[in-house]
């Protein structure tokens, strides 16, 4: 009788747990909790695997590149040397582009910028694993999706500068690109909303017996938003052909990932309660990202349903140009990140397999730098935030398909 009450040795009272990161400014960085498998160790299931049969993978970490720079294990072999070199160039382009845009921000050419330093592999490799007409629903940190889709850098910069050639006509915050042709859905400032929209796009594709799939993106912090749940519920219920990507870069502005993750060991496990195939991957390993993205895309396209992927990476830079991470995390933390740098790792691999050299690398960097520089100069000719823009009258366009009377009156009042 009353077994339970006897068993419950009651404490003095309840106590709320407020999560704390392992290290704060001044502390030594610690990554003790990070679950890492050795490269090549995690199995590669068939694409029609039942989600229940790979539940263990949610707590493991798929990796291809080992410490020597070799590609090992069942996930290796999706890319030839040419593709690997292209991947390296994609990532270098993102990194050099980011650096140039940060400089442009300091110079006042734009009001704002968000870099993806350290996370380049995720978006770059993923995009190359999709088909051109698949549709991504990105956040603000997936510039790699555009760059790996060979989207013109100058058009990106035009948007960042809000200049006279900005395809978004100066309306959007810098980096909030949109390009239907490049399979890149219009970025929203509101976290999370795109995740369920990606599911809707995928549902539409399936409703039309199309072959295109969707790929939705969300940050570790933003998984806490309700739209994450909506996306999971609808993807699970309708078996939508979508890849649901969580970019776990460890931080959400000043808040460490423990606030969103809570008591679950990984973000990938969030998929288990929905019967969605869930994988956790070394996001700084270009080969692993490409292999898993290809797997998930093939799975979706073959009508085996959605895949949730946690890409484990690290936000090396500040959250945005408005942020200073030294206020909330150890300054050395980025440099002790155990998964290394994605560019270095792919470069080392290419060298190790004899398909690259330091000289080639230097030359490639120089070429990319020149390309980015030229794109920036070209964009500057069309103006910057401080100079030329699209006509302010255009502000009244596209609110509706056709200008309604009340907006026509307002536009007149505004002097246009």
């Amino acid at each position: 009788m009353h077994v339970v009450d006897a068993e419950a040795a009651e404490p003095d009272g309840l106590r709320l747990r407020i999560p704390e990161p392992k290290a704060r400014p001044g502390d030594k960085p610690v990554f003790r909790d990070l679950l890492i498998d050795r490269a090549g160790e995690v199995r590669r299931p068939p694409i029609d695997v039942r989600p229940a049969d790979i539940v263990d993978l949610g707590a493991e970490m798929i990796r291809v590149l080992d410490i020597h720079g070799d590609a090992v294990g069942p996930w290796a072999g999706t890319l030839d040397a040419e593709q690997l070199r292209r991947g390296l160039r994609d990532m270098l382009t993102v990194r050099i582009f980011d650096a140039r845009m940060l400089q442009a921000h300091r110079q006042g050419n734009t009001s704002f910028y968000m870099q993806s330093l350290g996370e380049e592999a995720v978006a770059c490799a993923h995009r190359r694993a999709l088909r051109p007409d698949d549709m991504c629903f990105p956040t603000y940190r997936q510039q790699g999706l555009l760059i790996a889709a060979d989207y013109p850098l100058v058009t990106m910069i035009n948007q960042i500068y809000s200049n006279s050639h900005d395809p978004l006509k100066g309306r959007q915050l810098p980096v909030m690109y949109s390009s239907r042709d490049a399979g890149f859905f219009s970025i929203s400032g509101n976290l999370g909303t795109q995740f369920v929209q990606a599911v809707g796009w995928a549902m539409a594709s399936a409703l039309r017996t199309d072959t295109r799939i969707a790929s939705g993106w969300i940050g570790d912090g933003a998984t806490a938003e309700s739209d994450f749940h909506s996306a999971m519920v609808f993807a699970s219920t309708y078996h939508a052909p979508v890849i649901l990507n969580i970019v776990n870069n460890q931080w959400a502005i000043s808040t460490f990932q423990g606030f969103a993750r809570g008591d679950s060991p990984t973000f990938a496990t969030r998929g288990h309660g929905f019967g969605i195939a869930s994988l956790r991957v070394d996001g700084n390993d270009y080969l692993a990202v490409h292999a898993v993205s290809s797997w998930a895309a093939a799975r979706a396209r073959a009508n085996h349903g959605p895949t949730l992927v946690e890409w484990v990476t690290y936000r090396v830079g500040a959250h945005s140009t408005s942020d200073d991470p030294s206020a909330y995390r150890p300054q050395e933390e980025p440099f002790t990140w155990p998964l290394g740098d994605p560019i270095d790792r792919l470069k080392n691999h290419l060298i190790r397999i004899g398909e690259w050299s330091d000289e080639q690398h230097q030359q490639c960097v120089a070429e990319v730098e020149a390309t980015v520089r030229e794109a920036a100069s070209e964009a500057e000719r069309f103006g910057t935030l401080r100079s030329e823009h699209s006509s302010p009258a255009s502000m009244f366009d596209d609110v509706y398909a056709t200008l309604p009377d009340h907006l026509r009156r307002q536009r007149e009042q505004a002097g246009f």
């Binding site: 549709m135 629903f137 395809p167 978004l168 006509k169 309306r171 959007q172 909030m176 949109s178 390009s179 239907r180 859905f185 219009s186 929203s188 400032g189 509101n190 909303t193 369920v196 929209q197 990606a198 599911v199 809707g200 796009w201 995928a202 549902m203 539409a204 594709s205 409703l207 039309r208 969707a214 309700s226 739209d227 749940h229 909506s230 996306a231 519920v233 609808f234 219920t237 366009d397 596209d398 609110v399 509706y400 398909a401 309604p404 009377d405 009340h406």
Partner: protein, 338 residues
């Protein structure tokens, strides 16, 4: 022409729109197999298959969110929110996403959705089955907001909304589903079959968004209203003997300013009526617009008759509802003003 209830007219509009354009898909809670708790989508799944009309999980935000994704793909979703009172979980997707997608992407992506929802009180639904949230949408640039008062307009407006390239909030006064309710809850129910606006043309037609309808011509005073209150205004006019010109706005955004100003210029007096709570209701916008454009014609302050600024109560529904007595009193006071 066929005599129809408003529910039948809405069903018919769906059918016409789905037949003309196979990109039109219809979904929402209980709308598929069952045909909706008010039966507005009854028969659609059977007729068009479950890939054109289907049930959804209970997640309003998800319903609108996936509809936006489908719209971006190229479909034309028409979704149902079971009651307007339950639209708030979807508010972010509507306001931050659907409303702004065309603008923020400079036309690269659009969200041609129709979001239908039963609105208004009068069915003893209490505070969560009675609300009229229209002004929470009219404030949002990029949305259109539509509300029919009869079967004829319901069908024409719904077809126009589905065919419209922008997101449309389509409010259905649930108390009108089965008859032209005029606020006299103590009297027997009048069916649509006994009302001229229950005559609904067959096949395709539209009532353009942004065109008001003069429900009753009159010279004494203008009543600006929409939805259920159109019929309440008619009763109030009849009972007060005031020769009111009753304007059924039908569409709040875009608004038919010409019809409004022409009428108030003629009558010089104006009463605005809606079921929604008074403060910051759409009546405020109407007052602002009328005084801006025709102040010099105004012989009396514009009176607002609206739901009280309280939640919609269950048992005291008829004390809350701005019925013909309250509207008539405001009309008389406005006529008496010197």
């Amino acid at each position: 022409m066929t005599r129809m209830t408003m529910v039948e007219a809405i069903r018919d509009a769906h059918t016409v729109a789905m037949e003309r354009d196979d990109r039109v898909v219809v979904f929402g809670q209980d709308v598929g197999y069952f045909g909706g708790v008010f039966r507005c989508t009854q028969g659609l799944q059977k007729r068009f298959g479950k890939h054109r009309c289907f049930d959804t999980p209970i997640n309003e935000s998800g319903i609108v969110g996936v509809a936006i994704g489908m719209g971006a793909y190229g479909l034309r979703p028409c979704v149902e929110i079971q009651f307007a009172d339950y639209v708030y979980p979807a508010y972010d997707q509507i306001v931050s996403e659907a409303a702004r997608l065309r603008h923020r992407s400079a036309g690269d992506f659009t969200a041609p959705l129709t979001i239908r929802m039963p609105t208004g009180g009068g069915i003893f639904g209490g505070q969560t089955h009675s609300q009229s949230p229209e002004s929470l949408f009219t404030h949002v640039a990029g949305l259109k907001t539509v509300i029919p008062s009869n079967p004829h307009d319901a069908k024409g407006l719904l077809i126009a909304s589905i065919e419209d390239d922008d997101p449309v909030i389509f409010l259905e006064p649930k108390r009108l589903y089965n008859g032209p309710f005029d606020g006299h809850h103590e009297r027997p129910i009048v069916p649509w079959s006994a009302h001229p606006l229950g005559e609904v043309p067959d096949g395709h037609y539209t009532v353009p968004l942004g065109s008001a309808r003069v429900h009753r011509a009159g010279g004494d005073l203008t009543v600006l209203t929409y939805g259920t209150m159109v019929h309440v205004a008619e009763a109030a006019a009849a009972e007060s003997g005031i020769d009111a010109e009753i304007i059924d706005l039908r569409s709040l955004v875009p608004l038919d300013l010409d019809t409004i100003t022409t009428s108030v210029r003629k009558t010089g007096r104006c009463v605005v009526a809606h079921e929604a709570t008074l403060t910051s209701g759409f009546g405020a916008e109407l007052c602002a617009v009328v005084q801006e454009h025709v102040l010099s014609s105004l012989e009396a302050p514009i009176a607002r008759v609206a739901g009280w600024d309280t939640p919609y109560p269950h048992a005291h529904e008829w004390n809350y509802f701005p019925g013909p007595a309250r509207l008539g009193a405001a009309m008389r006071a406005t006529m008496a003003y010197r």
